[in-house]
């Protein structure tokens, strides 16, 4: 068989060809194609995110408002679950149905059979304690610790806001966030997100095919520790906030109280409110859906986002502008015969003594008086535009019609029309001081938020200026004013002596005018009632106040929707709050009782008594 010796060449060639094909293939796979190296990294490296504890939030007295409670995400690696897995027992442990189990399990399996994914989110510490004892019976399941916000005082929901998981849109916009991160969605949580969130840490682990950790990657060279968020101390007085919310129960409206000397917000109430704990954890989306469909709009922050006309409370501002413009003196008298007639029309007023001077006009809230004042301000200038612009500048100097700059998101600017608004509406040159006369009594186009109104009172209480209102007092023990340059003193451009005239009048309002229901023994409370005309239903009851008259400690605005006259709801509530804050006692329990029991969410009882306007 020697004759076939040449076939050795063919067989050798077959061997060599296979060897060469292998080497070419290996060169391609090992040297040229980098995809396999990436896949290998994905296989073996797990970045374990170390979530930082979010900063705690305290009130001005150090009462804890928001803290973190541990919650647990139950994770699953689907591949580890085999047919021996005790599904029934597991479902009992987790209190879920077999269908619920299958649904979650399939979702995890669709994500990856080999990588861990969330099976059940945000299990509370209490439920976890039970699960933990038995979890070792169920290989393939493990827990990852998270923290959830908890609100022990169950108050100030709108102001504190809530956190949620960063959605894809946020992640795209800000590269800091990754899927699974929490982010402040509203309120303080949103505005001070960067302060509160802290810094995420990470640990790069090597894992085996069952996702079991096998040690640190490169001895932890890529690991970082999580840095907790800074703690925040608010200017809010939690007790006052809770008390205000209680007084406002079963009513719609808002209360904003400010410490005039510092611009620190003492309460920021929007009613109806909700328990902030509802928007935490697994129940969040269900509860959010419920709240957002509630016709009373509990999620809507009226304090910052609802614009109401100021009503008669605005008369004080018109008086101040008139005095500064020197078209008004405290002694000027205007007569009022149940209203103010002009060009065949009449702005009505209620029955009172006439003629009226400045003090009495505020005390009894005379409409005719302010029609005269307003007209004399505007008509003092050669054109209505010029006069109007001067007036408008004073108004905006009180922080009205523009954002107050409070450190909370979604603040409404409010509305004071510009001249071009009237030019469009009435045509240029076709409007006069009488056309816009409703501005004299705080009606018409004006729209201010309760926040702006409280700020306006602050300027009156301070006799001419306000400090930019703010809600954060200290960050990690350091005063906010030391690094927030937006907190400044804002001047109204009206001299203090004129303020004294108006303040005296506002004192009389409470002492013996329309606001006596806010009167507190041996406390000099200044205030002004208002009744806001409401085209959609019953008028809104409003009251602005500050106390004490000298060296005021608190200034506030109260809106009670559909509450009719300012004296009926807003003024007593303001009085109770002032007394609570300054005295820490309530001397008029019968008024408190009436406020607590008042229900304006259903039908409003008809007004029969001669309560002031």
């Amino acid at each position: 068989m020697r004759q076939y010796e040449s076939r050795r060449i063919i067989i050798s060639a077959i061997f060599l060809i296979v060897g060469i094909i292998f080497l070419v293939r290996l060169f391609f796979v090992q040297v040229i194609d980098s995809q396999y190296k990436l896949d290998a990294t994905n296989n073996v490296l797990r970045t374990i995110v170390k979530y930082p504890a979010r900063g705690l939030i305290y009130d001005r007295n150090g009462t804890l408002l928001v803290y973190n409670e541990a919650a647990y995400d139950l994770m699953v690696v689907p591949k580890v679950i085999d047919e021996d897995f005790d599904t029934t027992g597991f479902c009992v442990l987790l209190e879920m149905t077999k269908d619920g189990f299958d649904e979650r399990f399939n979702r995890a399996k669709n994500y990856s059979r080999y990588k861990a994914s969330i099976f059940e989110k945000e299990i509370s510490a209490r439920s976890y304690a039970k699960i933990q004892e038995q979890l070792f019976n169920y290989p393939g399941f493990f827990v990852q610790t998270r923290t959830l916000r908890t609100y022990p005082k169950q108050t100030a929901a709108h102001m504190v806001g809530y956190v949620g998981e960063a959605n894809p849109k946020i992640i795209e916009k800000d590269s800091y966030y990754k899927s699974g991160d929490y982010i402040g969605i509203s309120g303080i949580e949103k505005h001070y997100e960067k302060v509160l969130r802290g810094k995420r840490g990470q640990e790069v682990q090597m894992v085996d095919v069952f996702n079991r950790p096998k040690g640190k990657f490169q001895d932890g060279a890529f690991d970082t520790t999580a840095v907790s968020g800074s703690n925040l101390k608010l200017t809010i007085d939690a007790d006052l906030q809770s008390y205000g919310e209680k007084l406002m129960q079963n009513k719609k409206g808002s209360i904003v109280a400010i410490d005039p000397s510092t611009g620190e917000i003492l309460t920021l109430i929007s009613m109806p409110t909700y328990d902030p704990n509802l928007l935490v954890g697994r129940q969040r989306s269900k509860n959010y859906g419920k709240l957002s469909q509630d016709t009373l709009k509990p999620l809507f922050n009226r304090a910052l986002m609802a614009a109401y006309p100021p009503g008669s409370t605005f008369k004080s501002i018109n008086a101040l502008i008139g005095l500064q413009e020197e078209v008004l003196t405290p002694s000027i008298l205007y007569s009022c015969y149940r209203g103010y007639s002009f060009g065949g029309r009449k702005m009505g007023c209620h029955q009172h003594r006439s003629p009226v001077n400045l003090e009495f006009s505020i005390q009894i809230s005379c409409n005719a008086y302010y029609c005269n004042v307003f007209r004399s301000i505007i008509d003092h200038y050669p054109t209505v535009e010029k006069g109007y612009n001067v007036w408008r500048t004073y108004v905006t100097n009180f922080g009205l019609g523009k954002k107050t700059g409070i450190d909370l998101p979604n603040e409404l600017s409010g509305f004071v029309p510009k001249t071009d608004y009237y030019d469009r509406y009435y045509l240029k040159g076709k409007w006069h001081s009488t056309t816009i006369l409703s501005l004299a009594i705080g009606q018409g186009e004006l729209g201010f938020t309760p926040m702006q109104m409280a700020n306006m009172v602050t300027a009156i209480a301070n006799r001419g200026y306000y400090i930019t209102p703010h809600i954060a007092k200290e960050i990690n023990g350091q005063s906010i004013t030391s690094f927030d340059s937006t907190i400044i003193r804002n001047e109204t451009g009206i001299e203090a002596k004129y303020f004294n005239e108006v303040v005296e009048a506002m004192y009389k309002v409470v002492e013996k005018g329309t606001g006596t229901s806010a009167k507190i023994d041996s406390l000099q409370v200044c205030g002004k009632t208002g009744t806001v005309q409401n085209p959609h239903g019953d008028d809104h009851s409003t009251f602005i106040a500050f106390a004490p008259k000298d060296n005021p400690k608190i200034a506030l605005s109260v809106y009670v929707e559909n509450g009719y006259w300012g004296s009926r709801w807003a003024a007593p509530i303001a009085g109770l709050l002032i007394e609570q804050y300054l005295r820490d006692t309530i001397t008029r329990p019968h008024i408190e009782k009436r406020m607590l029991e008042g229900n304006l969410i259903g039908t409003v009882p008809k007004i029969t008594s001669n309560e002031g306007k």
């Binding site: 050798s12 061997f15 296979v18 060897g19 290996l26 194609d33 894992v207």
Partner: protein, 433 residues
């Protein structure tokens, strides 16, 4: 003349050296594949690398014994050994232990022996003995049928054990027959059939649309293309004798093959086997199912890069991403930890061993030794091709070990016997008349 001095002089130490290198590399890589910080000693016999060391030691004893046995023992007892192994294969079917769906083990005490590993050696011995008989001509039909029977009987018995991979190895003997004078047409027919098989699988599920709403399935489309091609062959060779007959036979045979592939694939092969073939051919993509092994194997090898991650630093193999990594997928550890350099060295070592055996075959005076040598070479070659081929996605996943590397006593012993019997034959070649 037969002193131990001359034996040492006559042994081909190059082959022995290549063997030792491969076995040593295999052992080190098994250590790396099952490396565990808790059992760091490479000599720990509770671990696979420790056990493999025991196998290597006993394999050394076996090799020494073989070298001391008279070479004529193997030719004299060739059929006896073959018969003994055949009965062992039958016995294992009756009393054997099943592992992973294959009934191929004898469990004797704590040991497990796999007769199918040794039957390759026995079959090679019997085939060599038969083909080296005087006046045997490969062209005779009787010779062909007898040779096929010698190869086929153990292959069928192993197939009955449900160990398709080991059975396929026997197909490699066609190269020995070819070397001994089998017409090259058989090799060619084998290659063309395999090609048609693959092509048919790829196209069988396609539908081709033609005008007048005529739809043709992939199988019929292939037959149509074959008809056109063969008509052209006939047209250009029409003046030669018997061309029409030749072309017609080829057409009928290949059409039959194409149409039967569907049947074989769907009715004869097990579902997991057809799936593996489909995945390898890229017809199906299933990275977490049938394709998982190959995908992870490619990731491990590919992530090794040019220089590798370093010994014991392979993450993919160490953390069990690659299944069966100390047995069938041992090449992944080499590829990941030693990189392209390591792969290159291993492939070169195998090539050197194979070509060295072929070289030694050429210098044999006896046909028995030469045929045996070729048989050993093609068995090593087949294992090498399928095993490494499957780890890099060039061959279907057929669980057969990489000679000298894969963990396992039976396979190491069997490959050692297979090789050292030939080394012994070569050492004694001058004494053959």
């Amino acid at each position: 003349m037969r002193g131990s001095k001359s034996l040492i002089d006559n042994i081909d130490w190059i082959t022995v050296g290549l063997y030792l290198l491969l076995v040593l590399a295999g052992w080190l890589n098994i250590y790396a594949a099952v490396y565990n910080e808790e059992f760091e000693s490479i000599f720990d016999t509770t671990q696979r690398y420790g056990k493999q060391l025991l196998w290597i030691g006993t394999a050394g004893i076996i090799a020494t014994v073989i070298l001391l046995i008279d070479e004529r023992f193997f030719s004299t007892f060739g059929y006896f050994i073959y018969g003994f192994i055949l009965s062992a294969l039958v016995a294992v079917l009756l009393v054997g232990a099943a592992t992973k769906g294959a009934t191929s083990w004898f469990a004797i005490g704590g040991f497990k022996v796999q007769p199918s590993e040794f039957s390759k050696f026995a079959t090679n011995l019997a085939l060599a003995k038969y083909l080296s008989t005087l006046n045997i001509r490969m062209t005779d039909l009787k010779t062909k049928l007898t040779a096929v029977a010698i190869i086929g009987v153990p292959a069928i018995l192993i197939l009955l054990q449900n160990d398709t991979g080991s059975a396929l190895v026997y197909g490699a003997f066609i190269l020995v027959l070819f070397r001994e004078g089998l017409s090259g047409n058989f090799l060619l027919i084998g290659l063309v059939s395999a090609f048609l098989f693959v092509i048919t699988l790829i196209f069988q599920n396609d539908l081709y649309h033609f005008p007048f709403e005529i739809e043709i399935t992939g199988g019929w489309m292939l037959i149509f293309v074959l008809a056109v091609l063969l008509s052209l062959v006939y047209y250009f060779n029409r003046k030669k004798k018997q061309v029409l007959l030749f072309v017609t036979v080829i057409f009928i045979a290949s059409s039959g093959l194409v149409k039967s592939v569907d049947y074989v694939f769907n009715n004869i092969l097990e579902p997991h086997q057809s799936k593996r073939i489909n995945v390898m051919l890229g017809i199906e993509s299933d990275p977490f199912g049938a394709g998982y092994n190959v995908n992870q194997s490619l990731i491990a090898i590919g992530s090794g890069g040019f220089f590798g991650k370093g010994y014991l630093k392979g993450t993919q193999t160490k953390y069990d991403f690659v299944p069966e990594q100390s047995t069938d997928f041992i090449f992944c550890t080499i590829g990941e930890e030693w990189g392209f350099i390591g792969s290159f060295v291993v492939i070169t070592l195998f090539m050197a061993l194979l070509l060295r055996i072929l070289f030694l075959c050429s210098r044999q005076r006896s046909a028995f030794a030469r045929i045996y040598g070729y048989g050993a070479a093609v068995i090593f070659f087949f294992h090498f091709t399928i095993n490494i081929g499957m780890t890099i996605g060039l061959a279907p996943v057929i669980g057969i070990p990489l000679p000298f590397f894969s963990y396992g006593g039976s396979s190491l012993w069997a490959f050692t016997i297979l090789l050292f019997v030939f080394i012994k034959m070569d050492a004694d070649r001058l004494e053959v008349l």
